[in-house]
């Protein structure tokens, strides 16, 4: 890894580049929010950011701590009720991209945010589904961003909170009006995409300085590499500058409240 940026910055910048200008994006809190706002402040000034709290086309100066920080409403085009958000905007098919994180992801890109262990006797109870289950099926496609580790990237999730391609890769086949689902998983090591045939997550791009063994080591299943794996482009100075300024503003703001 270059001295010029961290692996976290690499991840966020790569995730931000996945968004195209003008797309409408349903933004999860945390890493997705960081990436989506970076996109808005760099190459995609007309990206439309939507948070499940009902804020449409919001342009926060600092990253929100919660999905419903005041900043989101104050800078939004308008704010709708939460039932309207899920009925007209998510289910109504008005969102191009859902940008999600997760606690656990498996090789078919199923996401678990419910619990580790058994449902009736959980080892760790996680927050639950929130907006993700329907975002994953009603939006055009899904981007997922999270840090790479064996604990997170597992062979099969303990609980399918939010479907990727199901337990066997076929969960979307023949389902009417369903979105394309996870098309891209962006980690601090690489980018993965579902294999066009099997839907198994496959490495398609490796970040600068990362070795294949690192990815294999950090993945809980026998990870496949695409035939034409590319090198992920490095963050530009401008992207790093904007990202760092955004995070600094955010830190100052939240420390004061």
């Amino acid at each position: 890894m270059s001295d010029g940026y961290t692996s976290g910055e690499m991840m966020t910048v790569t995730a931000s580049r996945a968004l195209r200008d003008g797309q409408s994006c349903f933004v999860g809190i945390g890493l997705p929010s960081e990436a989506a706002n970076l996109a808005r402040l760099t190459h995609a000034p007309n990206v439309v950011l939507i948070y499940e709290s009902g804020t449409l086309a919001t342009k926060p100066e600092v990253l929100p701590l919660s999905i419903g920080d005041g900043e989101l409403c104050e800078t939004a085009l308008t704010t709708v009720s939460v039932p309207e958000m899920f009925r007209y905007w998510v289910q109504g098919g008005k969102i191009d991209v859902g940008f999600l994180g997760a606690a656990q992801i498996d090789k078919y890109a199923n996401l678990n945010t419910t619990l580790i262990g058994d449902y009736t006797d959980p080892k760790v109870r996680l927050p639950g589904g929130g907006g993700a289950p329907e975002m994953a099926t009603c939006t055009g496609e899904i981007f997922i961003t999270l840090k790479h580790s064996k604990r997170t990237f597992v062979e099969a999730v303990d609980f399918v909170t939010t479907v990727g391609f199901g337990r066997d890769g076929t969960a979307r086949d023949g389902v009417p009006h369903i979105g394309a689902g996870p098309t891209r998983v962006i980690t601090d090591l690489c980018v993965m995409q579902p294999d066009p045939e099997t839907r198994e997550l496959t490495v398609t791009s490796i970040h600068p300085g990362v070795g294949r063994d690192e990815i294999i080591e950090a993945t809980g299943w026998a990870i496949a590499f695409a035939d034409d794996v590319t090198d992920t482009a490095e963050p530009s100075d401008q992207e790093l500058h904007v990202l760092r300024a955004l995070k600094a503003r955010t830190e100052t703001h939240h420390a004061a409240s």
Binding site: I29, G30, E52, S53, G54, T55, P64, L65, S66, I67, G68, D69, G70, L72, C73, E74, T79, V80, S81, V82, P83, M85, F86, R87, V90, Q91, N110, T114, Y119, P122, R125, L126, P127, G128, G129, G130, G131, A132, P133, E134, T137, C138, F159, V160, T161, T162, V163, G166, A171, R172, V175, P176, H177, I178, H254, S257
Partner: protein, 273 residues
Amino acid sequence: MAEFLSLPDAIARYVDDGATVALEGFTHLIPFAAGHEIIRQGKRDLTLIRMTPDLIYDQMIGAGCAKKLIFSWGGNPGVGSLHRLRDAVEKGWPRRIDILEHSHAAMANAFEAGAAGLPLAVLRGYIGSDLPKVNDQIKFIECPFTGERLAAVPSIRPDVSIVHAQKADRHGNVLVEGIVGVQKEAVMAARTSIVTVEEVVDTLDTHPNACVIPGWVINAVARAPGGAKPSYTHGYYPRSNKFYKDWDAIARDREAFTAWLDEHVHGKTHQEA
């Protein structure tokens, strides 16, 4: 027509032990003052409904008010777990609680259907998710026109819904502004309702399509300035992100929590709080 009551009187009148209660407010306008009053009055065996339990239900669950929680995302937003909720679910402290969990989409639709007087909500939901395996309230129906399989959940009809809002006029008409969440739906879906407000004014003085909950669908309006703190009230005061972060350490520890509860809830009255 809404009646103006003190918050203690409103809670005493409308929140019975064993009731199904929804304190709503999506991140914004969370009715903390009302929740604390419920704790102070020692209400028990409540079925608590809320999309995002947040700290308010963490506190109520930790104080032993709840026997069941219906929710769709149970974390401390941007911080981590709700430790009191986890302690109750995982260890049964101070008592075991049952949980019934949904997705946000299903709960939002269920509140909406409740407001609309329907027995069920129909949505394109839960496809491929394991949630229907652990929630027997999720069923599937077939569209009589297209044959498509659609999810169905029972509408939410709480015994009492409690929300916080910016202001009420003298007739008890209430203005909710900013992130309006499912507050209006929660009030309209409920058998009875309490709204706490920052202030009571002569006229709401707002725009033609404002989110106004008319007084005639509200049972009680109670003044509770600062009643959403540490969450926020758009136009009045900001969210205390610091408190949300500090809560993590307080709630991780049963003793720290109990001390906090004694000092900041039991040790205060509504007026001081």
